[in-house]
């Protein structure tokens, strides 16, 4: 499984085209977006901070581990850091696989693990 992990300060919009890997039957693109409110409070932006080298390594470790249960063709993760305005994406994940079940499983589990273990933090500015 081809694994690509990036942490960037640039906007993620329009960057991940749902290109198809040769032979893939399923492509899933997930965008996690900063919502304009949190617990009823209006929110203009969030500041994301990462322990970058470990965050990258940890994402790769998680994906390599999950690829044994959910073998996919490729996965690309882009996590944005710095200030992310409401309505903009903080993360984009793109998975291509032969069959959809593996892509769905990998995506759901990866997002759960990301939120448990990857050293990235968001705070209100």
């Amino acid at each position: 499984m081809k694994i690509t992990v990036e942490i960037t300060r640039d906007p993620l919009e329009g960057e991940v085209e749902p290109t198809v890997d040769a032979g893939s039957g399923a492509v899933v693109v997930f965008s996690g977006v900063v919502r304009p409110e949190e617990d009823g409070q209006a929110l203009v932006a969030l500041d994301y901070e990462a322990y970058e080298p470990m965050a990258r390594d940890e994402m790769r470790r998680i994906l390599a581990e999950l690829s044994r249960r959910f073998p996919c063709d490729s996965v690309l993760v882009r996590h944005r850091i710095g200030r992310v305005a409401a309505g903009e994406a903080s993360i984009v994940v793109r998975i291509a696989s032969r069959h959809r079940a593996e892509a769905f499983g990998l995506l759901a589990e990866f997002m759960d693990r990301l939120k448990q273990d990857v050293p990235i933090w968001k705070r209100t500015p």
């Binding site: 996690g32 994301y48 901070e49 990462a50 322990y51 080298p53 470990m54 965050a55 390594d57 996590h79 903080s90 993360i91 997002m111 990301l114 939120k115 448990q116 273990d117 990857v118 050293p119 990235i120 933090w121 968001k122 705070r123």
Partner: protein
């Protein structure tokens, strides 16, 4: 060894990183050193994990003079 602080722990320590003299420290010994210097860190100890050179430390792991040790408060990425 080099200590890294993130998120709210950076506010508590007032710095993003610092150096601590010590070698072959247990997690408990390291925490004792840190909370002696920043007593307010103690309130975060329970929910903070330690990473050694970019990997979560296992229980019983020992921290050396050349290690980079990160204090990882609960994460919230995604």
């Amino acid at each position: 060894m080099k200590i890294l602080f993130f998120a709210q722990l950076k506010d508590v320590a007032g710095v993003g990183e610092c150096s601590v003299a010590g070698d072959g420290l247990s997690a408990g010994e390291l925490w004792d050193l840190l909370t002696a210097r920043w007593p307010a860190l103690a309130a975060h100890r329970e929910q903070t994990r330690l990473a050694r050179n970019g990997v979560y430390a296992a229980s019983g792991e020992v921290f050396g003079a050349d290690d980079e040790v990160a204090l990882i408060p609960p994460v919230s990425g995604g």
